[in-house]
């Protein structure tokens, strides 16, 4: 299979404009003849669905939550990047592009990343016009802050709830179109299969999560905006319901899954407190602007943190990376935290964290400034831990947070399956092997508001006279497979719950394919996962019935997909015999423990083709070429 990225050539600055200028258009009067299915209502899905409807297309939008307003984009805290250069500090589209491609450790496409930086400025305009209450200066203009991996202040924020405010903006735009009837919304509806006919995506099969009814929907195009797969680790910062099912079922129908091993472990989360732990909570990395990270020099230091004098503390990030200090990129911060905890210098009752200390900032700026910047985060921390971070340092530890890998897409955001588009975290593009902070919100909205509304017309224009319908054997076949799978899950009648399998699977993936990986561990994981998968299919117990509201059945279906994904994740991590970004292979490090890339052999995108359960997937490579930047060893010293 030849992977054509369709990325345009020519000068970087004009590629997107040129490309847009040559895309086919659909006449305004003809747009109403098309139906687009949008799965997911987070930033990417809601913005795309709203924008399609404004253009005149008919849209059906699906989400598993009870309302589109609850998609997991809502939990993003810190901010959204845009190259506005409001701070007059040297920012530009090129610099945002460069920071993003460098932050991704030179494992993404130049053309895509440049386009992302280019449209970033339009996103802020759009959101402000919608009434998103971004933080402002006293003069009434927009405020910015700095974020990890950048030396300029380009991050727009709304207290510590930027994702919430951006999502509500997109949700409101979507809701407006639901009211006009251009969007038909299907909440509490889970996509369980993609329908492909003659190589084209023609619809989806869904389950109504209240009645259990299995239904098909046909469309001229299917847009997946279903988020990432971080919950493969069981414990992650993702919402409990976030899952890979829609993307995975599309993968099983032929869509290639790219770079699954690029997972991001976020450096600043609250450490786990016990076995019952159901998820981990992120503390925005914006905290690293004003908090200093340290551990005691002596692993046996039992003093409370305020009793440990400066001389007995190791501010290890400031020591090792004098120019970026506490603002090194996420992967670097996470790895360093793991190292000090592995050395036995972890803090807290389980010795599984490092300190993030605000004492100096409170002294310098006053408590009220810190409260203004991070009040809700401090409050959240106190609720969870029972400790007051104004008085004692926070304890933090890395946790799975974001997945850069996802379904392979070309420059138009179309997968290798014609008519199947993938947006936001669900696709693999733009962030390479590591995503910079405040860039996920940017990508979700860039894809939904400013990329897909242009590119989808180019595809649809070819199907003007074609009506869509669910009356075809492909739909019947997919429905039967979905029903069969559900029946199977319910009929095993074993002893273990879906959560118990999920926890055990997550532990394997975390231990062998987490912050650091090595060949031996990955090979071990590739034995453990299929064995546990077999037990799952023979010893699972799912309470309840198929024809009712059944949260256990939902979980079981999702866990069954995590098993297959986990295996691919480890296969990809093993195959990628280099370190890059969030993928650290212990065999490939610089003498001071930095990721060591192998550009000669691994400067490509790994796109995997499904060959069946337990069968080796086929690898397809998309070479990465760099015309405008020179891949360098990342250095944040």
């Amino acid at each position: 299979m030849k992977l054509d990225s369709k990325a345009p050539s020519g000068p970087l600055e004009t590629r997107w404009a040129e490309h847009k200028g040559h895309l086919k258009l659909v006449n305004p009067n003809n747009k109403r003849k098309f139906t687009i299915l949008v799965v997911g209502s987070g930033l990417a899905g809601a913005s795309a669905a709203a924008s399609f409807a404004e253009l005149g297309y008919n849209v059906k939008c699906f989400c598993f939550q009870d309302s589109p307003r609850r998609a997991h984009s809502i939990a993003a805290q810190g901010g959204i990047n845009a190259a506005k250069n409001y701070h007059n500090d040297g920012d530009s589209v090129f610099r945002l592009f460069y920071d993003t491609i460098k932050g991704g450790d030179f494992r993404s496409r130049e053309a895509n990343v440049y386009r992302l930086a280019e449209v970033s400025v339009n996103i802020i305009d759009q959101c402000v016009a919608q009434g998103v209450p971004f933080a402002r200066e006293y003069g009434g203009l927009l405020d910015n802050r700095s974020f990890g991996g950048a030396q300029v202040s380009r991050t727009f924020y709304a207290r510590g709830q930027t994702g919430q405010q951006l999502l509500l903006g997109a949700y409101q735009a979507l809701t407006k179109e639901i009211a006009t009837g251009k969007v038909k919304m299907f909440p509490r509806t889970e996509m369980l299969d993609l329908v492909v006919s003659n190589g084209r995506a023609v619809g989806i099969v869904v389950r109504d999560m209240v009645t259990g009814k299995i239904e098909s929907h046909a469309g001229h195009a299917v847009v997946l905006a279903t988020g990432g797969y971080g919950n493969v680790y069981y414990l992650s910062t993702n919402a409990k319901g976030s899952n890979v099912t829609a993307a995975w079922r599309a993968h099983r129908r032929g869509a290639l899954f790219a770079n699954p091993c690029y997972t991001q472990i976020h450096p600043t989360c609250i450490p786990a407190s016990g076995d019952y732990q159901s998820k981990l909570t992120l503390m925005s990395e914006s905290l690293r602007n004003d908090g200093r990270i340290w551990v005691p020099n002596d692993p046996n230091d039992k003093r409370s943190p305020d009793r440990i004098p400066e001389g007995d503390r190791d501010y290890y990030l400031e020591r090792r990376y004098p120019s970026f200090g506490n603002l090194v990129p996420r992967d670097v911060a996470a790895r360093n935290a793991k190292n000090v905890v592995d050395e036995g210098r972890g803090v807290g009752p389980q010795k599984n964290g490092v300190y993030l200390d605000f004492a100096d900032s409170i002294k310098r700026l006053g408590r009220s400034v810190i409260e203004e910047r991070y009040g809700n985060l401090f409050q959240m921390y106190e609720k969870i831990t029972g400790e007051d971070p104004y008085a004692v340092p926070m304890r933090i530890y890395p946790a799975p947070h974001y997945t850069m890998g996802g379904l392979w897409v070309d420059y138009n955001l179309m997968s290798n399956v014609e008519g199947l588009y993938v947006l936001g975290e669900a696709n693999f593009s733009d962030h390479g092997a590591n995503r910079l902070g405040a860039s996920a919100l940017m990508q979700g909205l860039a894809d939904g508001y400013f990329v897909i509304p242009y590119t989808i017309g180019d595809y649809l224009a070819g199907f003007l006279s074609e009506a869509v319908s669910t009356d075809s054997p492909a739909f019947r076949e997919a429905e039967a497979e979905v029903a069969d799978r559900t029946r199977k899950l319910l009929s095993i009648n074993g002893k273990r719950t879906p959560d118990s399998f999920h926890r055990e699977l997550g532990r394997i993936v975390w231990d062998y394919c987490g912050i650091a990986r090595n060949a031996e561990g990955l090979r071990k994981a590739l034995q453990l996962i299929p064995a546990l998968r077999e037990e799952f299919w023979s010893n699972l117990r799912v309470a309840g019935t198929a024809e009712s509201f059944n949260q256990e059945l939902e979980k079981a279906g999702r866990v069954s997909d995590y098993f297959e994904l986990a295996e691919l994740l480890c296969v990809d991590a093993l195959e990628r015999d280099e370190s890059c970004g969030g993928h650290l292979r212990e065999e490939h490090q610089t003498p001071d423990g930095e990721a060591l890339r192998d550009d000669a052999n691994f400067s490509f995108v790994s796109a995997w083709e499904w060959n069946g359960v337990g069968k080796a997937p086929a690898l397809h490579k998309e070479p990465l070429e760099f015309e405008f930047v020179t891949p360098t060893q990342r250095s944040y010293k």
Partner: protein, 257 residues
């Protein structure tokens, strides 16, 4: 710690439902309330019983999915805290807790502690937005917003749409929810063109959904996990009355604030 739970069990909207008693043993005080229910549910499944259905997603207090009554209080006893952020350290060993779903005609029960809150979505659809098509926005800094106004709009915009306000209100009124969205948008200069029309349509939509009337109990404010102020209800009423009295097409030419 050990607890006695009395939980509302209702198989489906048609089922009359009943309270069922559960003894929960050995709960860690560091666990969250929902993690305590997870543990109980796992035990129920192992015993061959159906687990208790409850809504939840982010478990960080921001998505607004979770919420039920604990001993008559929406989201339980901690102020400014959703039930997913409520930790067991706030309860005494041996506590007896009654868990019930949100009670409101406009929030029919789906199953156990899960209710249907789509009425909230329909209120927003009636006008809870600023009409700005993608791509038509002007440069962001062309619209300066005084910081105190922007901060006030933010206070209202924080609403997570959980429904606690309705559940706690003796009248089952949705004024706090509706006024938070009306005020968020009407405070901002961008929201002015549709300000009065919005207030009118959203209040009318709220009434259509069967929510009760506000008689200023202020129970909503007391349980709101985002501490949204009932001052916004007064603001909404003012906009609504202006719209009613003067006709939507001729709003007073006041600016934000």
């Amino acid at each position: 710690m050990n607890l006695t739970l009395h939980v509302w069990r209702q198989k489906s909207p048609a089922d009359p439902g009943r309270m069922v008693k559960y003894e929960v043993r050995g709960v860690s005080e560091h666990a969250s309330f929902l993690e305590m229910l997870d543990v109980l549910n796992e035990q129920l499944v192992e015993k061959g019983e159906e687990p208790i259905a409850f809504e939840h997603d982010c478990r960080e207090g921001i998505c607004g999915s979770c919420g039920f009554m604990i001993n008559g209080e929406a989201h339980g006893p901690q102020p400014a805290t959703t039930v997913c952020q409520l930790h067991m350290r706030h309860f005494k060993d041996g506590a007896v807790l009654h868990l019930e779903p949100w009670r409101s005609k406009a929030f029919p029960v789906v199953k156990d502690l899960v209710v249907n809150r789509s009425s909230f979505d329909r209120i927003v659809a009636a006008g809870g937005f600023i009409s700005v098509a993608t791509g038509s926005a002007p440069e962001a800094n062309l619209i300066p917003v005084p910081k105190p106004i922007s901060d006030r709009a933010f206070d209202a915009a924080q609403c997570i749409g959980c429904g606690a306000c309705v559940a706690q209100c003796p009248n089952g009124a949705a004024q706090l929810f509706t006024s938070a969205k009306v005020s968020h948008l009407s405070l901002l200069p961008q929201g002015q063109p549709e300000r009065f029309d919005r207030a009118l349509s959203m209040v009318e939509a709220m009434e259509r959904e069967g929510f009760g009337s506000c008689t200023n109990y202020a129970e909503c404010e007391a349980v709101c996990p985002k501490e949204i102020s009932i001052d916004f209800i007064a603001r909404m009423n003012r906009d609504y009355l202006s719209a009613k009295g003067k006709g939507v097409m001729k709003p007073p030419l006041s600016t934000a604030g």
